[in-house]
């Protein structure tokens, strides 16, 4: 996936490599895939999944990503542009589940079938929704951490971007898990905005005011690793969990630095979302909603996640449907 040309300031090289990248693809349906940004590894897994599924089914994908990460106006513009382009179908992750509704309605208006993945849009009509349940992921991972700590200890939560759907649900899951464990004490809940550095600094600061921290609940893996670095920097130990199941997290779990990570399984989300889009185009039956049941990646089960992205293959439709169809 990654290429190692050491080229600086090569907009031209970009153009070339770019056109090649999109130029050589199988014909058949074109699926426009919308993701939030090109910086967060998770959405890369979604994109790879979508590509894999399309490849398998002989369709082609076009990716639309805001140039400014998570930019609402940009994704709206991209929708408007794509509607002109009229792809066969759209696989859609809203950068904001509420603010994007008008965009979705534009797509509906253009009668382009659209599948909603990852963040459940607050409005508009979709073929189906494919995602993981952030709440139960948060709940599951938090429970696992508390179980490891024997249901007690000092806990801090590092939140993601305020107001983002994922963050709200994940943190709600964390808190509910904490309610189940009266022995555990929540010391602080501070935002790290899904950012590595901010999480690290928040953690460093919290360690100053709290001499004993036993568990860290981070709303994504980047922040979890940030927290881990902070702990190591201070030569302190604490159990840390994150969410998303990125390669980085899996490695950390393997190395015993991170306790666990909730598997958000972007790859499968991308796969299944795209499969549904294509199947419906081909008049094959689809399901209205697939919410992947939460799996917690731990020392016991990390092996299956080590396999590099581009080696993975999409589940068959039957498997996919089983993954949590309702």
């Amino acid at each position: 996936m990654k290429n190692y040309h050491n080229s600086i300031c090569a907009a031209l090289t970009l153009l070339v490599s770019g056109t090649l990248a999109t130029g050589a693809r199988a014909d058949g349906e074109t699926i426009a895939v919308f993701t939030k940004n090109q910086t967060n590894p998770f959405f890369q897994t979604v994109r790879v999944g979508a590509d894999a599924a399309a490849k398998a089914l002989g369709a082609k994908t076009l990716h639309y990503i805001p140039t400014k990460p998570d930019s609402i106006p940009e994704q709206l513009s991209q929708i408007e542009d794509v509607v002109v382009k009229k792809p066969s179908a759209i696989v859609f992750t809203p950068v904001d589940y509420k603010a994007m509704v008008p965009g979705v309605e534009k797509i509906n208006g253009a009668k382009i079938p659209v599948v909603n993945v990852t963040d459940r849009s607050a409005g508009g009509s979709f073929l189906s929704f494919v995602g993981a349940d952030d709440y139960s992921l948060g709940l599951g991972t938090a429970r696992y951490l508390l179980k490891t700590l024997g249901g007690k200890g000092n806990i801090v939560i590092i939140e993601g971007v305020k107001g983002s759907l994922t963050n709200v649900d994940r943190v709600r899951g964390f808190n509910d898990a904490l309610k189940e464990a009266p022995g555990a004490k929540l010391l602080a809940s501070q935002p790290g905005n899904y950012q590595r550095l901010q999480a690290l600094q928040v953690m460093e600061n919290l360690m100053q005011s709290n001499s004993q921290i036993d568990g860290v609940l981070a709303a994504n893996d980047a922040m979890a690793t940030g927290a881990i670095e902070a702990l190591e920097g201070a030569n302190r130990k604490a159990q840390v969990i994150g969410i998303n199941g990125t390669k980085e997290a899996v490695d950390a779990i393997k190395a015993g630095k991170m306790l666990a990570s909730g598997d958000y399984n972007g790859f499968v989300q991308g796969c299944v979302g795209t499969m549904i889009a294509i199947r419906s185009l081909r008049g094959q039956p689809v399901v209205s909603e697939i919410v992947l049941s939460p799996t917690v990646i731990t020392k016991e089960n990390y092996q299956s996640y080590e396999q590099p992205l581009d080696k993975r293959s999409c589940p068959s439709w039957d498997e996919a449907a089983k993954l949590g169809a309702k």
Partner: protein, 315 residues
Amino acid sequence: MREAAALPANPLQRIPGVAIMLGVLVVVFGAIAPGFLSTANISNVLVQSTILMMLALPMTLIIMTEGLDLSMGAVLTLTSLIVAIVSLATGSMLIGLAAAVLVGLAFGIANGWLVAVVGIPPFVATLGTLGVAQGLSLIVSDGQSVVGIPHSVRDIYSATLFTVPVPIVMALVSYLAFHALLYHTRFGTYIFALGGNREALKYAGRSPTRLLIIVYAIGGAMAGVAGLLMTARMNSGHPTAGLGLEFDAIAAVAVGGTSFERGNGWLLGTLLGVVTVGVLRNGLNLMALPSSIQVASIGVLVILALFLDGLRSRL
């Protein structure tokens, strides 16, 4: 025509860089980007450019006074939220707009006051108010989107006037208004003087302080109007929606050939600059090139445009 003032003397140099680039882009995309020249798409590009336009117009005036307004994006975000919250509470789009414009105005006046009266460099003053506006946005919304606002708001964005989308009408009207203001009124003349020779203005018995405050206030008010468009477009208010737009606006103004020195400004250039950026993004989307190329090419566009202008001025 007065705006000839901003163009170089030599007729060979009269075609500014931005016009060349826009021309090239339109031709190239027209040739290779499917559906680029369709009316639907053209109106797309224009509608998409309107919000930036609303910021770039006053930004041109502010830059002509050798100033800068970094707070516009954040203020736009705040006013957009205000529109959402107020119209949600009152059920009236107009009250929402009024409130937004007032808040924008307040920030504009604050900027003008800090710059003109307190004497803080514009960059610093507006970077400060940027923080304030951004903070307020987060506080009033507690970081959440504001939804469920009355349809009267979103209709602004989707409605058309004689088949022309209302946002385009608004942008055009504002352009004409700013054009008239800058080239045909006393106030416009004084804006040239604010950047060109403030002393002269003093000796002419006009208070630069008051004028400056007005210029920044206009910027704030326009951010308020743009806030309405932004909310209408998202049919919701969002605490980060407009962050960073000020830089896009400044870039568009610079691409449009307005220099940061001695009150040399060109309003039409700003219009072209905004459209050029819009066309570039739209065309690349239609060609479905990887987003990373889009990112890089925006930078290249900005640099190239200024490079071309530099070349011409040295001919």
